[in-house]
């Protein structure tokens, strides 16, 4: 009897492989998502000029001491417009500073975008060459990075922030980090 069980082995192996492949087809899995290697690492060094001459710029050292959300956006980016209203809700959190980095955007375009949709950011700076974005591992806009008090990246969102991501992941993490 036990010898016969060996004939079940191929069926079991098939079931195992089929299950594994089935998981790969799950609609919740985005195969184009590039996982960040920057999580739990210190933010890359940067020093970016402000969008408007009278406002402060932003450099990596400025991020120490408080929880911040760095949001890479551009006026030419359509999904940015979708996430933009949600940033105002997040901006109400007193423990959180939201800083915007305009990626490959002319100052006048970024300015027009914020004049049109409102400005949820504490600081808005320009990354015209897009090098700071590359140092963060950005490969498209929008992308958002949650930075803890010690200046470490704790969370990264590729693509627009959604209600589900904000409520389910971002807010609990912000609450934990600002304790």
């Amino acid at each position: 009897m036990t010898r016969r069980l060996i004939y079940l082995l191929p069926a079991l192996i098939f079931a195992g492989i089929a299950g594994w492949f089935w998981q790969g087809l799950s609609p919740n899995r985005d195969p184009t998502l590039v996982p960040s290697v920057m999580i739990d690492k210190e933010v890359p060094a940067f020093d970016l000029p402000p969008l408007t001459a009278d406002a402060p710029g932003l450099k990596s050292a400025d991020l120490k001491g408080h929880v911040s959300l760095i949001n890479f956006f551009a006026s030419w980016c359509v999904p940015c417009r979708a996430e933009h209203p949600l940033l105002f809700g997040l901006a109400q959190d007193k423990h959180l500073e939201i800083d915007g980095i305009a990626y490959k955007n002319k100052p006048e375009d970024a300015d027009g975008y914020l004049a049109e949709l409102g400005n949820p950011y504490a600081r808005v700076v320009l990354d015209q060459p897009g090098r700071t974005a590359i140092d963060f591992g950005v490969y498209g806009v929008p992308e958002s990075y949650l930075i803890d008090r010690d200046g470490r990246i704790r969370f990264r969102q590729v693509g627009p922030l959604t209600e589900a991501v904000i409520e389910g992941q971002l807010k609990p993490l912000i609450a934990e980090l600002s304790k």
């Binding site: 590039v34 996982p35 060459p129 897009g130 590359i134 140092d135 490969y139």
Partner: protein
Amino acid sequence: MTARAVIGRAVASLALLLFAVNLAAAVEPSEMLKDPGLEARARAISQEIRCLVCQNQSIDDSNADLAHDLRVIVRERLTAGDSDRQVKDYLTARYGDFVLLDPPFRTKTLILWAGPAALLLLGIAIIAFAARRRRAVAAAPLDENERRRLAQLLDQSK
């Protein structure tokens, strides 16, 4: 065919050939380095770096903005005196192993690299095992009764 037509054809096919060779690359002349040795290394590295926007093209092939930026970075690093290894490390520090089109050998990629060899060895082992068993069965000689019956059958069929 006149000599002129022959030359015309030769030029046309040569142009076509050059075009075909150049078709895949997205490198713009303004990006290229003056030093042909460095440029050749930059091309070779670029062909192994994944464009993160299109994902199934190398940055050497892709017209995406980010691919252009990464091509320029590769050339900057080489000009600064980096080795090929260092240039790739610079990129993987930002984008992870995913940026390499050729996945490196890690514990995470063990199944990928060792899987086919392991399956081949398993297959050889199964075949060897089955062959040995078959030989063991075939080696049993006929006994006296069987041999007589076989002779009978052979006689009948004549």
